[in-house]
């Protein structure tokens, strides 16, 4: 591991926009430009753009690539047609999470993996140590600038920038004529796409997307947006000693596809029911914003655990968070309290996600 702080290829653009930069996962990244509330709102109602250049990109190719990845990842990669992608997790032998990622099938025998910034080195070592003959594994993280364009207007933004091209379908991946990669994915709960260009061309695309109507958004809004959807953040909500079954991500684990690392543990947990579960917790009244590591207590005051993530939801204007709790306390409607500086704020376990989009009869965009 290096302790050197890395810079995004888009950093000078952030400085020019007056962003506040913070250190995140070893990277100097924008946390906000104007305000988290405004940026969050722009993504929910219009379109925002995030720098995701810190995220890692691996290319896995070769005739044995599919079978090998299926032994390392929880979801069934054999279900992907060319041009399709899926959310998936890489586990250790104990069934704990090393990383969560999106895996795309970019060719018959080629896969494009987008992994968390903080885990690039660890993921790569884990994979390289298990790499068989017939598989090529490349870490291309340094080569690509990345940006996520998210929100109900994101399709229009794409059309303005690429009038002669089309976005891939949901979860899909495609290449632009100029060689950039477009993925119809994101981590905000809104329609949108993630765009990867050669690092040196990043700033020109960034400016182009802003000119076409996307508002620059920082990691602060990215965190509040993903938490409203109960999308987990590795390191907070996903941990090496917690399984995807405990995290409530069983949907992304195909226990019938054949063996993969960690599968035995998942099967046992699924059969017996997990002892702990990642619960969605919502304040019952106004209170100090919940944050990671704040104590979570039962109604009788017993300490149950701590928040893995927490935020004041800008869409709901109430405190929300997630915590690993004993299964009995993770049931919907369980009354809890969150302790903030010695004060207890009443809360309860609610259904995921926290934020449900107001009825959207047709999410497809009109070509402008």
């Amino acid at each position: 591991m290096t302790s050197e702080i890395k810079s995004s290829p888009l950093e000078s653009a952030h400085v020019g926009l007056g962003a506040k930069l913070i250190s995140f996962a070893g990277w100097n990244m924008p946390v906000q430009y104007t305000s988290i509330m405004d940026e969050h709102g722009a993504v929910r109602s219009a379109c925002g753009i995030f720098d995701i250049s810190h995220m890692g990109q691996f290319i896995v190719s070769g005739p044995a690539a599919l079978a090998w990845l299926n032994g390392l990842l929880t979801n069934n990669i054999a279900k992907l047609g060319i041009g399709q992608g899926q959310y998936t997790l890489m586990l250790n032998e104990q069934g704990g999470v090393i990383d969560d990622m999106i895996a795309y099938r970019s060719g018959a025998d080629e896969f494009f993996l987008v992994v968390n910034a903080s885990m690039i080195e660890e993921d790569f070592f884990w994979m390289a140590a298990r790499q068989p003959e017939g598989v090529i594994l490349r870490n291309e993280s340094e080569l690509w600038a990345g940006m996520a364009i998210q929100g109900p207007h994101s399709c229009e933004v794409f059309s303005r920038c690429f009038p002669s091209e089309e976005l891939p379908p949901r979860n899909g991946i495609s290449r632009t004529a100029s060689g950039s990669i477009v993925c119809r994915t994101g981590y905000t709960g809104e329609d949108g796409f993630e765009f990867f260009s050669p690092a040196a061309e990043g700033i020109s695309y960034w400016e182009k997307f802003i000119e076409a109507g996307s508002k620059p958004c920082g990691l602060g809004a990215r965190d509040s947006l993903r938490l409203e959807m109960c999308y987990p953040l590795n390191g907070n909500d996903l941990l090496p000693n917690r399984s995807p079954i405990e995290a409530g991500l069983g949907f992304f684990c195909d226990l019938d596809k054949g063996d993969f690392i960690g599968r035995d543990v998942l099967v046992a947990q699924k059969t017996g029911g997990p002892a702990v579960k990642l619960a969605a917790i919502r304040y019952l009244e106004k209170g100090a914003p919940p944050r990671a590591h704040y104590p979570v207590l039962a109604a009788d005051g017993t300490l149950l655990g701590e928040l893995a993530s927490g935020v004041l939801s800008p869409s709901l204007m109430t405190g929300i968070g997630m915590a690993y709790l004993p299964a009995d306390f993770a049931k919907l409607g369980t009354k809890l309290s969150i302790e903030v500086r010695g004060k207890r704020f009443p809360a309860e376990v609610v259904k995921k996600p926290f934020y449900v989009k107001p009825s959207s009869p047709d999410s497809s965009s009109s070509q402008s």
Partner: protein
């Protein structure tokens, strides 16, 4: 950046308006702009005795919780219920409706050890 000349300022970005022996305290325009989006204010209890530098209130944005320190020693004699009900007042009117608490100062000379507007403006420039 707005730094009214009639106020005194602490290096931790609180302002003080002294009237007789009563010091009204809030956070500066610069501080509210740095914090952005104040969503919660935790007020001190009335009658609490504080020393200059004690964490006395908490102002929270979506991003972080920040302690507000007593700029002077004394006793908390009043708190602003309006910022508890509508924390955004700290952003919209930091020197007016966004005041946070009042201290009956134990030694008003202490207030004059705080920075004047010119010194504070140069600290934040």
């Amino acid at each position: 950046m707005n730094t009214p000349p009639d106020l005194r300022y602490a290096s931790s970005h609180e302002w003080v308006r002294l009237e007789g022996e009563i010091a009204t305290v809030g956070i500066s325009d610069h501080a509210q702009e740095e914090l952005t989006d104040v969503v919660f204010v935790e007020l001190p209890s009335l009658g609490r005795s504080v020393d200059a530098g004690d964490p006395t209130a908490v102002v929270e944005s979506v991003k972080a919780a920040s302690d507000i320190y007593a700029p002077v020693s004394g006793e908390v004699i009043e708190v602003n219920p309006d910022v508890e009900a509508d924390p955004s007042l700290v952003n919209s009117d930091p020197y007016g409706k966004g005041w946070i608490f009042k201290i009956k100062v134990s030694d008003s000379a202490h207030v004059y050890k705080l920075m004047d507007a010119a010194a504070y403006a140069s600290q934040i420039s």
